[in-house]
């Protein structure tokens, strides 16, 4: 089973999607339940992989490896495998997908394609984390865009128009979906070119081979010095991933996409898709371009700091609850990048290891808390049909349970000690401090504002005078299904806050093995 466990994890969602497509479309409850049930299979398999991780055979730092012929003509194969880094991301993905599906039980329109696309999306995301072949990585990297595009385009928020030019208007969700797709694709062009170039030069796309051969390559290419070529390729990779993370100033697609996406889409977008970019940095950029990464790390750190600060400021300025949460992602992902930049700059040192551990843990944590936040925003939106903070207020007495969850999740996101966010942000700051002292100091300023916008969000919704428009009837408290979505997330927030070691151990192993 260990031979093809990853393939099973990878393709069950896709097959599940096909199964869903074959169900009768009128029977919506059936479709939803089947989709949920099918999405639990990869989660269980991922758990199997997680608990069997230590015992699985290892080669070149990766476990559960499987290699099959795929595109022999250009020496690309279907090569998958995991280490602690990717496995934690796989776990996050397979956990969030069922929750997101459960969260979207309220969707009434075209349920069948929605569920099928969602499952297909899961395959796309998992593929990125599992690939040990550069081309395969790119395949999944791109393919995940398609379902996401349709999720936003078709099931995004129904209201809102965006003026393009000369009075031509289009629905906001269309605009957002289009922007998301084209932005990301354009960002990937450089990646595509660089991958092609690597393939041409190395004659293989196998990452394990490339990790050995590419960084040590010397001489000249295309009439340029190899270092220059590598620098260019480094930026090609970095920009593609930076857009996905997103790092300031490449983040502008994110607020639109997050805001317009359906709740489940936002959960996955914030919970997993953003991690793809950070994962790309960790899996590809650092090992393939150690020298360039070192050289350009200060730039990355600067951008990360700016993301933290501007993300926080922008979040604070929002009136739209969902946009506020969206900008908070820019802010939090900034810490991930800061950790990565620090590690790249001072590779091999203890601080670097700490920063990296923090960054990876932050990826996981942000996945949990951002998904929770977006879900909670979605819950209130479903009831009030507005996301405008000014139209809310004084909800606490109406929805006490919801209020409690919102406060808890916000605190986790804020980084309150005892909850998960604190551990990872602390590790990042601790690791980055000796390396980029000034930037880290500045980003602490950002952290301050994180507190400000989180509190603003809470106070605008829960506290203050009750907006007369709302009462017990049109604003009922959170229901059981919604609780079921939040429960695992809350448990993880608390558990990771108290005992991060169970996850950190695995991550650390990978970090040490991979970057040590």
């Amino acid at each position: 089973m260990t031979d093809y466990l990853l393939s099973l994890i990878l393709f069950t969602p896709l097959l599940g999607g096909l199964v869903v497509m074959l169900l009768p479309g009128e029977n919506k409850p059936l479709v939803r339940r089947v989709a949920l049930g099918l999405s639990l299979i990869p989660f269980l398999l991922a758990l199997v992989a997680w608990f069997g991780f230590g015992n699985a055979p290892e080669a070149d730092g990766f476990r559960y490896q499987q290699q099959l012929t795929w595109y022999a003509a250009i020496n690309s194969s279907f090569h998958v495998g995991v280490d602690g880094l990717s496995l934690s991301m796989v776990l996050l993905t397979t956990l969030l997908t069922p929750l997101a599906i459960l969260a979207s039980f309220t969707i009434e329109d075209k349920v069948k394609p929605f569920m099928a696309l969602f499952l297909a999306l899961e395959t796309g995301m998992l593929g990125v984390f599992l690939s040990l072949d550069l081309l395969l990585f790119f395949v999944f990297w791109e393919i995940g865009l398609v379902p996401m595009y349709f999720l936003i385009d078709q099931w995004g928020s129904p209201k809102g128009e965006r003026e393009l030019w000369k009075g031509m208007k289009m629905p906001s969700r269309r605009y957002a979906a289009f922007k998301f797709m084209v932005y990301t694709m354009a960002g990937s062009l450089g990646l595509l070119l660089a991958i092609q170039m690597l393939g041409v030069v190395s004659g293989t796309f196998d990452l394990i081979v490339l990790f050995q051969s590419w960084p040590s390559l010397t001489g000249s290419l295309f009439g340029l010095d190899i270092a220059q070529v590598k620098s260019i390729a480094f930026w090609a990779f970095a920009i593609a991933f930076a857009i996905k993370v997103p790092i300031w100033p490449f983040h502008t697609w994110l607020p639109d996409a997050h805001t317009e996406a359906p709740t489940a889409g936002s959960m996955i977008l914030a919970g997993v898709l953003l991690k793809l970019g950070a994962y790309g940095f960790l899996r590809l950029v650092l090992p393939l371009y150690p020298e360039q990464a070192h050289q350009y790390a200060p730039v990355l750190a600067l951008l990360a700091t700016l993301a933290i600060i501007f993300g926080a400021f922008s979040a604070f300025a929002q009136k739209d609850f969902k946009r506020l949460v969206a900008y908070s992602s820019v802010n939090h992902m900034g810490f991930v990048v800061l950790g990565i930049a620090a590690a790249a700059y001072a590779a091999g040192t203890e601080s670097a290891t700490i920063a990296l551990n923090g960054a990876v843990l932050q990826m996981f944590n942000h996945g949990i808390s951002a998904a929770g936040m977006f879900f909670l925003v979605g819950v209130i939106y479903e009831r009030t049909h507005t996301r405008n903070l000014d139209e809310m207020g004084g909800f606490f007495p109406l929805v006490p349970v919801y209020g409690g969850l919102l406060i808890l999740t916000s605190m986790a996101s804020l980084g309150l000690p005892g909850l998960n966010g604190f551990v990872s942000e602390f590790l990042v700051v601790r690791g980055a401090w000796p390396i980029f002292t000034a930037y880290t100091a500045l980003s602490m300023l950002g952290l301050l504002f994180t507190g400000a916008y989180i509190l603003k969000g809470i106070s605008k919704t829960l506290h203050g005078p009750l907006n007369e428009a709302w009462n017990k009837k049109n604003l009922p408290d959170i229901n059981r299904r919604e609780l079921a979505v939040m429960a695992p997330l809350v448990v993880l927030m608390i558990w990771l806050g108290f005992w991060p070691a169970w996850l950190l151990n695995v991550i650390n192993q990978a970090v040490v093995a991979f970057f040590g």
Partner: protein, 493 residues
């Protein structure tokens, strides 16, 4: 004597076309069923050729040779290699789906199918011809029925103009190439049109440099190379659905294929001399085609220009003279063929109901014809070069080939991908999503099951190649390996 499958596949359509002309014209059902039966048979035969081709085996298979005009060394000589076998399959698929989609031809269906079959015979003939004369013979047979098909059954507004433009362009190309071919025939001193023999003719370098452009451009016109691409979008737009499918799907490959077979393979030194600047033309194709496609509001024009862009990639693959480039170009020919056939089929299906192809006047079609919508989206993803679909499998090696020879060209050409994504997404969202315009409300209905079958078949091919390149790429590689023996490609073994 072995079973003459290639001859059957070449002559079955044209003979059936002749038979069709003798059926009573009022028996429309009979005519359609007969045509469908023949098309299906042709499709099956093409599948047989494809799967009967032994990748490990000889370079050319299913060979047949009969004297035709021995005094001049002309023979009826056919066979397929790893490049042409997939193209035969492509033609089989397109003729089959094309006939299905033409069920609703009202005006003189008998003649329509007859001409379509003549066209198909010509196309098959070119793909399997191993004799240069036979290749020209079939090439011209393929070009001409296009005129009638477009002029008679095309879109009323532009059909006369487009049909004439197309025919003249292609005819110019073919006669220019013919002069080049005759020059080769006499210069070789071998007294034969047998291309296998001519491959070893050892033309002098100066001869090749002089004559290569004649042959290459003569054929590349049909491949839509810039600046001779102009006929193609007009032709696509004016043609009736099945003909657009054939035209973009197969005929344009004819040009690229013949340019390869007669141009590059017979005059490799000429190719090496000229292709470095020809790649710039193909670059213009790729990028400019995409930009122009972006500005179109008519769905068919958009697809027409996107074909210009995609065929540019085929030419670019050849022009790199690299192993990867050739493999990619080979796959791209099939991938693009199936993809555009799919596009035009879908456009034809909704046009039958909406009577407009203006994207601004359409919308919400997903609600009435979801199957067509999904098929169109799959085509769109192929067009964007989305991984997991055949377009990616084709474009990736082409770009790798370009990297090997001209890195800068790769960097510029890649822009087309994002532009393609933009116009495809826009088209998908305008045509299939949103609300159905008021004036169309109530006039629309789902497509027929047979049409779903056709679209399903086309989409299946695109996805299969995309997910499992192994179903086609090794065959094309075997073809490229043999080309490599003659042309000495960069990166070839």
């Amino acid at each position: 004597m072995t079973f003459p499958i290639l001859s059957i596949i070449v002559f079955l359509p044209i003979v059936s076309g002749a038979v069709l002309l003798f059926l009573p014209s009022e028996r429309r059902d009979l005519i359609y069923r007969f045509a469908l039966g023949v098309a299906f048979l042709t499709f099956l035969l093409s599948v047989l050729v494809y799967f009967g081709f032994d990748i490990e085996g000889a370079r050319y298979q299913f060979m047949e040779q009969y004297n035709w005009l021995p005094a001049l060394g002309i023979s009826y000589f056919v066979g397929v290699d790893g490049i042409s076998a997939p193209l035969v399959l492509l033609t089989g698929i397109v003729i089959f789906t094309g006939v299905i989609i033409s069920q609703r031809i009202d005006d003189r269906p008998r003649e329509f199918f007859a001409f379509l079959f003549i066209l198909a015979s010509g196309v098959f003939g070119v793909f399997v011809a191993l004799d240069m004369f036979a290749l020209f013979f079939f090439y011209e047979i393929a070009v001409f029925p296009m005129y009638l098909l477009i002029a008679l059954w095309g879109w009323k507004k532009t059909r006369e103009y487009a049909a004439m433009k197309l025919t003249l362009y292609l005819f110019i190309g073919s006669v220019i190439a013919l002069v080049g071919a005759l020059a080769m025939y006499f210069a070789s001193g071998l007294q034969t049109f047998n291309m296998l023999a001519l491959e070893g003719a050892g033309f002098s370098a100066s001869f090749q440099q002089l004559w290569f452009p004649f042959v290459f451009f003569g054929f590349a016109v049909l491949g839509g190379i810039f600046p001779f691409h102009n006929w193609s979008p007009d032709g696509h737009v004016a043609a009736p659905t099945a003909v657009s499918m054939f035209h973009a799907g197969v005929l344009m490959k004819l040009g690229a294929f013949a340019a390869l077979r007669v141009g590059i393979m017979l005059m490799p030194e000429g190719a090496a001399y000229h292709l470095p600047w020809i790649i710039l033309l193909s670059l213009v194709n790729v990028v400019y085609g995409a930009f122009i496609a972006m500005t179109q509001t008519d769905a068919k024009y958009m697809i027409g220009f996107s074909s210009v862009s995609h065929m540019g990639l085929v030419m670019m693959g050849f022009a790199t003279l690299t192993y990867d480039g050739f493999v990619g170009a080979g796959v791209q020919m099939v991938s693009h063929g199936v993809m555009t056939a799919l596009f035009f089929a879908v456009v034809g299906m909704f046009y039958d109901q909406t009577h407009t192809r203006e994207m601004g006047k359409l919308g919400g079609l997903m609600k009435v014809m979801p199957f067509a919508g999904v098929a169109f989206i799959i085509g769109g993803l192929v067009s964007m070069g989305m991984p997991g679909f055949s377009g990616f499998i084709a474009e990736f090696p082409i770009f790798m080939g370009v990297w090997r020879s001209y890195p800068l060209v790769a960097i510029i050409a890649v822009i087309s991908i994002v532009i393609t994504a933009a116009y495809i997404l826009r088209a998908v969202s305008r045509i299939f999503f949103g609300d159905i315009p008021a004036e169309l409300e109530g006039h629309l209905h789902d497509i027929r099951p047979s049409e779903k079958l056709a679209l399903g078949l086309l989409a299946f091919v695109l996805v299969s190649i995309g997910l499992f390149p192994g179903v086609m790429v090794p065959m094309i590689e075997s073809g490229v390996n043999h080309i490599n023996e003659i042309v000495h490609l960069i990166g070839g073994a």
